[in-house]
Symmetry: C2
Subunit: 183 residues, 2 copies
């Protein structure tokens, strides 16, 4: 009977927290997947709000993500916008009711908030490192914040993305981008 390793314990803790979090999210109009998708959309920039991006972010398939988004749209949490340039693609925007729902904090949020600030910071950075490495290992995208990207260019007049060759608003720059690449 070998002692359980530290890694297994951490993995187990993550799993349990995920379950606790999921159990709480049900106490609203949304289920856990829908909540996660909504939360992502609220933090993603305008180039990263398509079903396929949500699928990548949530480590699921396009089919599943499509269903989740349709459900969110039915509940008036998001609104779809079809692109002019590429008639295949769709982008979703969070509605005001969606934003409102996201701003209500759950029990787990309060628990996290009750941790000392420095612990919160170290926790956030450790978890972020885990997610990035895990995603990298599985060949997925990293989904970092725009202004920390290799292609982000800051000038006096504003910001610019060298990859997509577009200028970026102040908001764009602080949001999550699916094209994000580490420096």
């Amino acid at each position: 009977m070998t002692e359980p390793s530290q890694t297994q314990i951490i993995r187990d803790l993550i799993d349990r927290l995920g379950r606790l979090s999921a159990a709480e999210e049900w106490n609203g109009p949304l289920n856990p997947s829908q909540f996660a998708a909504l939360s992502y959309l609220a933090r993603a920039n305008r180039f990263s709000r398509a079903p396929s991006h949500v699928a990548d972010y949530l480590a699921t398939t396009r089919g599943t993500a499509s269903q989740t988004l349709k459900a969110l749209a039915r509940k008036d949490m998001i609104e779809e916008t079809r692109s002019e340039a590429d008639k295949r693609s769709i982008s979703y925007d969070v509605t005001t009711s969606g934003t409102e729902l996201l701003s209500t904090s759950t029990g787990l949020d309060q628990v996290i908030g009750s941790l000392p600030g420095d612990i919160q910071n170290s926790l956030a950075s450790s978890l972020k490192a885990l997610v990035l490495t895990a995603l990298h290992q599985r060949g997925g995208r990293s989904f970092g914040v725009c202004n920390t990207c290799r292609h982000h260019e800051k000038s006096k007049t504003g910001s610019y993305c060298r990859l997509l060759e577009v200028s970026l608003s102040a908001i764009d720059s602080t949001q999550i981008c699916h094209e994000h690449a580490a420096q």
Copy 2:
């Protein structure tokens, strides 16, 4: 458009890690719930391996836990033992194939293992604190390790539980107990 709070970001990271972990666990004969239950049983002491304990640990219902355990038993990962003293209660033991399965480390385990040791420790303690507080808030049990319990008594001849009034083996003392109470 308010900036997302640190707590929401942490919550989101936990959620994503849970999904990544769940996606990986499928690459075996077990689904995520079954894997979590098996992992718990392997670390729980002999007083804590009943369906109701698993239900408490996984923050689910007895009905759901019952299904999960039956599935595990069908797959020969665990074995049920009916109690003599109380004919209602059942205890599950992990089989050798179950132990074997648990010892194979997944991708996420490797990612966690690749973190520096001190980061692992601080991550484990932060997550543990979160789980404990969240469980407390929701009125659940804490499920700590036996020898850190208020009722644990260590003597020269061995250990003893003042609550259950039984003597404890060396293994018992290092396992998870559903009766665990903080000092």
